[in-house]
Symmetry: C2
Subunit: 334 residues, 2 copies
DNA sequence: AATAACAATTGAACTGGTTCAATCTTTTTT
DNA sequence: AAAAAAGATTGAACCAGTTCAATTGTTATT
């Protein structure tokens, strides 16, 4: 049978309350502290995290809900979240909801029943109404990546519009005028923001926003592939292409290779989040990199802070900057 | 304050033991069953899963340890595992260990401290010795995908050698003789098995196994890209290429496109796990598909069975068959 | 030195379930 | 119809912690 706090108390010659206080970081008389520490050592005592949760209503668990397990961008952030919260002995329960609102609600209930101490939500296309219940329960929530406008809580977002702006600006400074974009799904906030930045950049330089340069790729590899093909099989061919996420960039590059279009001679390209590969292929790709580690770290620390009851600065909205990694895929037209 | 089992008992006019028995699926006298059900309804009672775990030493939680969150093959299986176990109200705690043995041990301890009822291990390169402790604890373990030879427990594996055999055989039947392979890391069991099948097929047809047709890509996109490039920049150029996982297939296709090698005219290609995209690109790719959903389902059901104490057939070793999806990337040499 | 203020300790009561020996009901057997 | 066997119910004890009012110990103040 497991060693309990009572065994430790007996061995150390103090009351179980004293041991409990020690374990929770309260001050003990020096003499008692040493006795307790010795007893814990000798008995090999380990706290039972489940029993702990019963009275205190703490599960030492954080629910993380993502749209899709197989999205490498999300899972990169989750890795960082995990690394952050495990330092304080929290674990995460990871759920995906496959973009299905009903399934999401089901998962949120599931997490509530397990008394998660906090919730981190990758909120692709979530309706506000579902979340209201959660607020009432008093569980802190941090939203990551996809915003739910109007939902008042802590958020860790990326400056998507700014990222797009600088990408398109780079094309403009390189004298491109036929600048195409492959968008994500129109109902995604991230997608909207990235398109917004594209528009703003064109408008800032008095250039028209033309529908022939705009296609949608649904944030998928296949979507990016098909959208790129459409661009280059049509009558109007762009000289610059901005692809607004990782998977679509992958697909677009495949299409471009397949059609034997020379980058950057015939087409200048800026992609998104293209990880290691973008540096290896020829020509190496200029991409916009999102700070996934940092996002996870901030989200993790933020939820820990709220769990501790520290609500200073609430609601914190972090809007992280992206980095454009300039490589060889953009040509300056002279 | 939450509604407890005592509240239900009082409302229904029975003892709390009776309510507990009802909740755990034991038989009640019809009359009492109705009263209890009514009381639960009226009060909106929900079981406290944490309290439940305290006495019974059950956490209703299954630990899933994977090498890397960002591996789409693993996460596809995890999705299926989750779907399976959530039906019986289990949740999973997902951990990755980034291929680091020390980190793995740490995660296993972490999961033990949380009283996971079972463990599903994606065991890339795990030493046997670490696992021995876990067996002693009496926690059921299911190994998925990567075998640990000599570790006696339930396993859900894929017939990797057979998959390779049939891929290479297809090349041979199409009169190819220069058949190259891009392997994963040599210390991976999966990688070894896939190579084994390649060898067996060549030997079965009295063909030599030549080192010039063997390269290693470390199961990564970049690795596959670089290995493919090496093949086609060298003096000897293969007419057939077999790539042994998803990420390397991706990289190899990019390299092939980049070098403007025509598939299947100049090169026949069989890849692995290439998901939707393999059907879309031109030419569409012949690939070996692994049954990820089925793997997850079997692993999930197996661990549930063991958790329930049903050890019939122990140890079960499932060796699932792959499916070759024949498309347009293999040419018959006449 | 006496008193007040503060700090540390104690242990019973509590958290919300499960379990089981004892007891009460019902059904089956003789 | 009585006795035996099987089935259902009861509630106190238990799981391993936390919490808090009461108590004891220590330091500061007058």
């Amino acid at each position: 049978m497991a060693v309990t706090i009572r065994d430790v108390a007996k061995r150390a010659g103090v009351s179980l309350g004293t041991v409990s206080r020690y374990l929770n970081g309260y001050r003990l008389r020096e003499e008692n502290r040493l006795k307790v520490e010795k007893a814990i050592q000798e008995l090999g005592f380990k706290q039972n995290i489940i029993a702990k949760g019963l009275k205190s209503n703490r599960s030492m668990t954080i629910g993380v809900v993502i749209d899709d397990f197989t999205n490498i961008f999300c899972t990169s952030i989750v890795t960082a979240i995990e690394r952050t919260v495990e330092k304080e002995n929290y674990s995460i329960i990871l759920c995906d909801y496959e973009g299905d609102t009903e399934k999401l609600e089901q998962k949120l209930n599931f997490l509530r029943d397990r008394f998660v101490d906090g919730l981190i939500l990758f909120s692709n296309n979530v309706r506000l109404s579902i979340m209201d219940k959660y607020i009432c329960e008093g569980i802190p929530i941090v939203i990551v990546n996809e915003d739910i406008p109007g939902f008042n809580t802590d958020k860790v977002l990326v400056d998507n519009a700014g990222a797009s702006f600088r990408a398109v600006e780079r094309f403009i400074h390189s004298n491109h005028t036929k600048i195409a974009i492959i968008n994500g799904p129109p109902n995604s906030w991230v997608s909207q923001q990235r398109f917004e930045g594209y528009k703003q950049a064109l408008e800032a330089y008095n250039m028209p926003v033309e529908s022939r340069w705009i296609k949608y790729g649904n944030f998928t590899t296949v979507g990016g592939y098909l959208a790129a093909k459409e661009f280059f099989e049509g009558p109007d061919i762009p000289t610059a292409l901005y692809v607004t996420n990782y998977y679509m960039t992958l697909g677009a590059v495949m299409a471009i290779h397949e059609l034997n279009i020379k980058v950057p001679q015939e087409l200048s390209l800026i992609g998104f989040d293209y990880f290691e590969l973008s540096d290896v292929i020829k020509p190496s790709l200029t991409v916009i990199e999102q700070p996934t580690s940092k996002m996870g770290e901030i989200a993790g620390n933020l939820i820990l802070k709220r769990i501790k009851g520290d609500y200073t600065g609430y609601p914190e909205v972090h809007r992280l900057h992206t980095r454009m990694i300039v490589r060889d895929s953009v040509r300056v037209i002279s």
